[in-house]
């Protein structure tokens, strides 16, 4: 993760400042709020919420390391017993349930999306909605959907084919959420041009 850090000029690249900690905390809270907003239940197993919007947004806005940490913190709050997972679930029980794979995929997807956004050509993160959209799509395809299906296979004893059938229900919603994510992330980068390529607070 350190190779993707955005401050090659300083030697203390691994140190996160207080503003970084506050951003990590703020986005963990934002994912909480996104996840507990009223859900649309399509399959009966995994309700659709803005949860993944918040997860991928954390990566696209904060970059790989802080995005990863923000989503990890969100998971920690949920595991500790706050009812912040979709459907108001909480506690370590969700790790035993069939949807655990999706949760495990969240921080990794945020990290990959954030990494890809930082690799975009200069200025693209603030202007190019389709490119940011693609970053989010790759992040969620590689980690959320793959690990989500793996979880269904391991914990619900489905075959990969059946897991794929469950998983594809979410694709359309995912594309829509990714469009929203790209629109919001680019707007936030225009409002705060130094979020990704930041200078250390003095």
């Amino acid at each position: 993760m350190t190779s993707t850090d955005q401050q090659p000029r300083t030697t203390r690249t691994r140190r996160l400042g207080t503003t970084d900690l506050a951003l990590v905390a703020g986005f963990a809270a934002l994912v909480v709020v996104c996840a507990v907003l009223p859900a649309i239940n399509v399959t009966g197993i995994v309700p659709i919420t803005l949860q993944t919007f918040g997860v991928l947004l954390a990566g696209a806005v904060l970059g790989p390391l802080r995005g990863f940490l923000a989503v990890l913190l969100y998971l920690a709050l949920g595991l500790a017993g706050l009812p912040v997972f979709s459907g108001g679930a909480a506690g370590f029980g969700v790790l035993a349930g069939p949807t655990a794979g999706y949760l495990v995929g969240f921080p990794l997807a945020a990290a990959l999306t954030g990494y890809l956004v930082t690799r975009l050509p200069r200025g693209a993160a603030a202007r190019n909605v389709p490119l940011v959209f693609l970053c989010g799509l790759v992040g969620s395809a590689v980690f959320i959907h793959t690990l989500g299906m793996a979880g269904l296979v391991l914990r619900a004893d489905l075959t990969w084919g059946q897991a794929f059938d469950v998983d594809k229900v979410f694709w359309i919603g995912d594309v829509v959420k990714n469009v929203a994510m790209a629109l919001v992330a680019t707007a936030v980068h225009r409002a705060f041009p130094d979020l990704l390529h930041r200078r250390r607070a003095a």
Partner: protein, 202 residues
């Protein structure tokens, strides 16, 4: 606000008084045993033990059913599917294992306040200090996130009202962009305030 109280039920049993770290360790060990020991008999034994612990901790059937509501549907579907494909033994094993793990985890969640679980998690991070993880800063970030949840809910409501007043309640851009921009600027103000007081920087 109920979101922040979590799902903890106060009580005085031995399970309530046991330190959170010991309960977490016990959950991990029991979870490993449940997953590693194959066969329908062990699954039934595990489920009986889990329900017994739940009853001892003062978990009423009504409370238990409410917590497991979402999962019971999955368990019924999964059970039917397994009987159809792999026979009774396999069905009892996978459904029994799943329910036992979730009940055990629910007992932990119900008998342990959220802050104690978080404290135990932070203590568990101590060995990672030499990798650059500072448990104190992790604890600071957790408390910042807990503080940020009600703030973010309030910001989300204000943003929704503002979009509503402009007749833009259906526009994701009008509802989400101001929310995220305000989350970022709130986090930056918090970071600056902490920095000014010398908290979290060293």
């Amino acid at each position: 606000m109920s979101l922040l109280l979590g799902t903890h039920r106060p009580g005085t049993t031995w399970l309530h008084r046991l330190p959170a770290g010991a309960k977490l360790l016990g959950l991990v060990l029991l979870g490993l045993v449940v997953v590693l020991v194959r066969g329908p008999v062990s699954a039934v034994v595990a489920l009986v033990v889990a329900v017994g612990l739940g009853a001892y901790a003062g978990l009423t059937a009504r409370e238990g059913l409410r917590t497991l509501r979402g999962l019971l549907l999955v368990a019924v579907l999964l059970g039917g599917f397994q009987v159809w494909n792999n026979g009774w033994a396999r069905a009892v094993e996978s459904v029994g294992d799943l329910l036992a793990l979730v009940v055990l985890a629910t007992v932990l969640t119900l008998t342990t306040p959220v802050d104690e679980v978080l404290d135990a998690l932070v203590r568990a991070l101590r060995p990672l200090r030499r990798l650059g993880v500072d448990p104190d800063r992790v604890a600071l970030t957790i408390s910042l996130a807990l503080r940020a949840i009600p703030t973010t809910v309030a910001i989300a409501e204000e943003t929704r009202d503002a979009a509503l007043a402009r007749g833009l309640e259906r526009s994701p851009r009008a509802r989400l962009v101001p929310l995220v921009v305000r989350v970022v600027s709130h986090a930056r103000a918090t970071g600056d305030a902490l920095h000014a007081r010398g908290v979290g920087d060293d």
